[in-house]
């Protein structure tokens, strides 16, 4: 019953497709919490790889900003689910996100120097854009708990900020 919309969301996230047909079934709050947390964890892991590999100050600074902000958002998410007594529920979207991220990390791990910087930062732009699309069109409208919705809205502003920040860094690398 939950498979179809989450697969649709996974497809949206993977392909970065702009339009999303409003699915009849919406992800539940425990699934939304899991997806949001997973999305944050993925960005933290990519950032840690960049901190380890990059020698460009602007890239390392950006990666440190990503770790700091996403750890904060994820801590807020954990505090909230605890308070609401909600157990985040793994789902097809979270799994698809994690799988795609592992592949991307594999690609990045093989690159070095300027090629790594470029690929990491470009992926950051694309990744934040995709997550923003999912937050705006599906996750925020589907959230039923007001506090969860509010946290996702703050998360969207953070992600939008990161997208612009990543675009700025990408511009400076050229």
């Amino acid at each position: 019953m939950f498979t179809r919309p989450t697969v649709a969301l996974a497809a949206l996230l993977m392909l970065g497709a702009a339009p999303l047909a409003q699915a009849a079934d919406k992800p539940t709050d425990p699934q939304i919490a899991h997806i949001a947390y997973t999305a944050g964890t993925i960005d933290i892991e990519a950032a840690k790889l960049a901190i380890e590999k990059s020698k460009t100050k602007e890239v390392v600074d950006f990666a440190n900003d990503m770790v700091r902000d996403h750890e904060t958002v994820n801590k807020q998410a954990l505090d909230l689910v605890k308070k609401l007594n909600v157990t985040p529920e793994d789902n097809a979207t979270s799994q698809a996100l994690a799988k795609a991220a592992a592949e991307e990390r594999g690609k990045l791990a093989k690159l070095d120097g300027a090629a790594f910087d470029k690929a990491y930062v470009e992926n950051e732009v694309a990744y934040h854009k995709q997550v923003n699309g999912a937050l705006e069109t599906l996750l925020i409208p589907s959230a039923s708990n007001a506090e969860l919705k509010s946290l996702l809205e703050t998360g969207l502003k953070i992600f939008q900020g990161h997208q612009q920040h990543a675009e700025h860094v990408a511009g400076s690398l050229k």
Binding site: D65, R68, D69, T72, K75, Q76, E153, T154, K157, I158, Q160, G161, H162, Q164, H165, H168
Partner: protein
């Protein structure tokens, strides 16, 4: 007007320049990635203080100008040294924008 002698005019001008308004502190609150008020007016010598209610670090950065780092759940401030209107943004989240119009 003709009654005003030259020394009287000079005294008047001196009085006007010698009694500036006392410097003020203007507070801008940051909550959920929004500067409010987004736009403030101030005078040279005034201080802008940002009060950050977020758990995130922010900055108030003027391109090619000053920058204030505002740690999470903390404050940051700057004293305005130059007249003119400046737009500022958060370097970590460039979608956060504000403006300070500074009069002499």
């Amino acid at each position: 007007m003709t009654a005003l002698t030259r020394p009287a005019l000079a005294a008047l001008a001196l009085a006007l320049t010698a009694s500036p308004a006392p410097a003020e502190t203007i507070t801008v609150t940051i909550d959920k990635l929004v500067f409010s008020p987004a736009s403030v007016t101030a005078r040279v010598g005034d201080t802008i203080e940002w009060v950050n209610k977020d758990a995130f670090a922010h900055t108030a950065t003027v391109k090619g100008g000053w920058e204030v780092i505002i740690p999470p759940k903390s404050t940051g401030k700057t004293t305005l040294k130059e007249a003119g209107a400046v737009d500022y943004f958060c370097r970590f989240h460039p979608n956060m924008r504000g403006r300070v119009a500074v009069s002499p």
